[in-house]
């Protein structure tokens, strides 16, 4: 019946389509909501999203070669890298011209250090060449091939030219290959030699240690959360303060405290020696290794595990346990089959929180991790502030981000994100 009378969209009283009428009615509300969040949105956009996007972009960006050496890049196009021979005179001439312009603008060293990431030694080739080429007369001084070879025999190494050719496109996957312990060989991507594979080890270690830290947080935090949730509120509040106390203490102070506790001349070792449990010349090594990192980070991240577990456990009615017992279950069965399953959302929330926090943790591994206990984030920091290879740092960061998102996705598929409760 209504099919014959109403074929088009539903109309409002004044004849406009109901949808448009509704949208107009809601528009003011939407604009007002947007205005309210605009300051924060802008702030987050400028200080968080844009810088991150820019950093991530650096992991593939490679314009410096083609911009600084435009003629060389064109001339090299036809050169066959697999021939094993140096390019011909035209390429050297182009390089001389590019180099002269670049040296006058003092840009040649930048290209040098960029290419040096891929093939160590190129940086000094460029630095030396730049100094000399400045004085050459491009029109008359040729041929340049011999002049370059006179400067440094490195200019006669086909590998150098191959590197320049490989990194001439505007975009590169070189940083990502590097981050995955691979390199661009003559026949495309290949694994680096065993002894140069550091990032893969670091990623594995980061994931493994984050897992260990998360697990120890669950094991240590669960009973505390249980007691918190089951104590009368007066004593629970007191205990809660103890749990939160670390939150109010500086991260550096807590980490340094662990240094004091764990070092070989530290409190724990001294006590053990004093008790005679450990010989004085065989003091335990508990810091500057993985053990130190795990202990310190577990302590620091524990509240992030306890709080979500606590808030979930608080909602579990104690009658369930009574009901289970009245039905004939022992204390353990009641807990395991009735209480525990209901507390899983809290464990899930805490685990995600702790795992994601620890996978990107920096300060604590840096201070107590030594060389064996550092995370991938420490390597990223190294490339950002010491080696200045931002492209590689960005690539490592992008991989880390991808791994976290992937794990989050997997977690959603297996446990279900709906099952995660923070309160």
């Amino acid at each position: 019946m209504s099919d014959t009378t109403q074929t088009g969209p539903v109309l409002a009283a004044d004849g406009t389509p109901l949808k448009r009428s509704l949208a107009r009615a809601l528009r003011m509300q939407k604009i007002r909501a947007l205005m309210l969040i605009a300051p924060l949105l802008l702030f987050v956009l400028l200080t968080f999203i844009l810088p991150i996007a820019d950093m991530l972009f650096r992991s593939v960006e490679n314009q410096i070669v083609s911009e600084t050496l435009p003629r060389t890049v064109v001339a090299l196009k036809d050169w066959d890298a697999s021939s094993g021979e140096t390019p011909d005179e035209a390429v050297y001439a182009a390089l001389a011209e590019d180099m002269k312009i670049a040296a006058q603008a003092k840009l040649h060293t930048r290209v040098g250090s960029r290419l040096n990431y891929e093939k160590p030694g190129i940086s000094s080739l460029f630095r030396k060449a730049g100094r000399k080429v400045k004085k050459w007369d491009i029109e008359n001084d040729g041929p340049f091939k011999e002049k370059f070879l006179d400067l440094h025999k490195g200019w006669g190494d086909p590998d150098v030219w191959r590197t320049i050719q490989t990194y001439s496109p505007k975009f590169t996957n070189g940083y990502f290959l590097n981050a995955a312990d691979m390199q661009k060989g003559a026949d495309g991507a290949e694994m680096r030699p065993e002894n140069e594979r550091i990032y893969w080890t670091l990623f594995k270690r980061t994931l493994f240690m984050s897992l260990v830290i998360t697990t120890s947080c669950i094991v240590l935090g669960y009973p505390v959360a249980w007691i918190l949730a089951n104590l009368p509120s007066k004593s629970a509040n007191l205990l809660m303060i103890l749990v939160l106390l670390p939150f109010w203490t500086s991260l550096l102070v807590r980490t340094s405290a662990w240094k004091v506790m764990l070092q070989q001349q530290g409190v724990i070792n001294d006590t053990l020696v004093w008790l005679g449990l450990v010989a004085d010349d065989a003091r335990l090594v508990m810091i500057n290794n993985q053990f130190g990192t795990i202990v310190a980070m577990t302590h620091i991240l524990l509240p992030f595990m306890i709080l979500p577990m606590y808030s979930v456990m608080q909602t579990i009615n104690p009658t369930y346990l009574r009901a289970a017992k009245s039905l004939g279950a022992t204390n353990w069965t009641s807990f395991w089959r009735v209480y525990f399953p209901q507390s899983v959302p809290g464990i899930g929330a805490g685990s995600i929180l702790v795992f994601i926090l620890s996978i990107g943790y920096y300060i604590t591994p840096e201070l107590v991790g030594g060389t064996k206990g550092v995370f991938i984030s420490n390597r990223i920091a190294f490339h950002i502030s010491t080696s200045l290879n931002w492209g590689l740092a960005a690539a490592l960061g992008a991989i880390l981000l991808a791994v976290v998102l992937l794990l989050y996705y997997a977690y959603d598929k297996i446990v279900g994100i709906d099952n995660v409760k923070l309160g």
Binding site: N317, R322, K325, S326, L327, G328, A329, Q342
Partner: protein, 366 residues
């Protein structure tokens, strides 16, 4: 009755006391025994100790003093899961992460029943409460009444001989509650289960139980079948708590041949049946049920005792009329009369005469 039941008592409380803080007794000297198959209700206001008694029987609270016996065996030190008592909780306590069938399977699994036997029992229990097609649902998908049925089925599925219910119908609406009251009593009697039921709703207690134990202040005030409890309350607490009740205060003048002469505070003299007054001079509360009072002269029975009254309010309630009167200085005297064709409808301000039989009028403690 209590004395004869001692020998075949199934559940027994013997001088049980309970204190939570070591200063106040929540349960004071509880003696109670019920035979197999009885439906006993513990009725009382909140804080009267009835739920504590139930929890002691279930094993979730320990008695501070005294013995609790189940089928002749002392169970004070037996943990709840070994008592084999079925229990229905106030909020049902159905496990939210399990389906209905899994909820029912739980008590059978911990008792190590085989799979096929479990399934047969679950099916029988669910059919019993007419929830047979809901086995795969989760508790959250059921209405309150359905959850109530499932909770009942779960408490019965392992065939306990004793079932405890802690205000199980408190969260249901009135209609559903009345339906469930009937179903629970029906089930309990068909299956021959001994039931201890806790409630603060006196209608529920009266309609469901074989016997009702009225609790107040940690003691059983009266333990009797519903009709006796209503018609022959033994003290003024029970009279006030069970049903509607008119009280007139006064002093006992004399007691002769099982009849007490009471002078009301307004000066009127009336006859009453002495229940727990023993000697002249004692203050008393005289209790009369509203439906036992008559104001229609033609219906007044022979030997009725009459008093003057003033009509204050007339409320039409459909099946009955509820008339509020001022009698002997009491403004809250209520008369309930059946809505019959020849019934008189009173108007406020009328001066009338009311009457009742002396045996319906009970002189209780003040």
């Amino acid at each position: 009755m209590a004395d004869s039941a001692i020998n075949d008592a199934f559940v027994e409380f013997d001088r049980v006391q309970k204190s939570y803080d070591g200063e106040n007794l929540v349960v004071k000297d509880l003696n109670l025994s019920l035979p197999k198959g009885e439906f006993l209700t513990m009725l009382g206001p909140s804080g009267s100790g009835k739920t504590t008694c139930l929890m002691m029987l279930a094993g979730f609270e320990t008695a501070t003093h005294g013995e609790i016996r189940l089928d002749g065996r002392e169970i004070n030190n037996i943990p709840p899961h070994k008592r084999g008592i079925g229990m229905v909780f106030q909020n049902y306590a159905l496990f939210p992460h399990m389906t209905i069938a899994e909820n029912l399977s739980f008590p059978l699994e911990v008792r190590k029943f085989g799979k096929s036997e479990r399934e047969a029992k679950i099916k029988r229990a669910l059919d019993m409460v007419e929830m047979g097609s809901f086995g795969s649902r989760r508790p959250a998908q059921l209405s309150g009444g359905q959850q109530q049925r499932v909770a009942l089925a779960r408490a019965l599925v392992f065939e306990p001989e004793l079932v405890l219910m802690d205000e199980p119908l408190g969260a249901l609406d009135k209609q559903l509650r009345e339906k469930m009251q009937f179903e629970i009593t029906h089930l309990a009697h068909t299956l021959g289960i001994t039931t201890v039921y806790v409630t603060h709703d006196q209608t529920e207690a009266l309609t469901m139980s074989d016997r009702v134990a009225v609790f107040d202040d940690g003691r059983i005030q009266q333990l009797a079948p519903p009709d006796k409890l209503y018609e022959e309350p033994e003290n003024s607490f029970v009279a006030q708590f069970i049903g509607e009740n008119n009280t007139l205060e006064g002093v006992v003048k004399e007691i002769n041949n099982g009849v007490a002469l009471v002078q009301l505070d307004g000066g009127e003299l009336i006859d009453a049946k002495p229940i727990n007054v023993s000697k002249p001079g004692e203050r008393t509360r005289v209790s009369i049920r509203p439906e036992r009072v008559e104001y229609n002269k033609e219906r007044m029975q022979e030997g009725a005792h009459t008093l003057k009254a003033e009509v204050l309010e007339f409320i039409y309630m459909g099946d009955i009329f509820r008339t509020r009167l001022r009698v002997a200085g009491n403004d809250e005297f209520v008369v309930k009369t059946r809505n019959a064709p020849d019934q008189v409808r009173l108007k406020p301000g009328e001066q009338i005469e009311i009457g009742w039989l002396p045996e319906d009028c009970r002189a209780l403690d003040a």
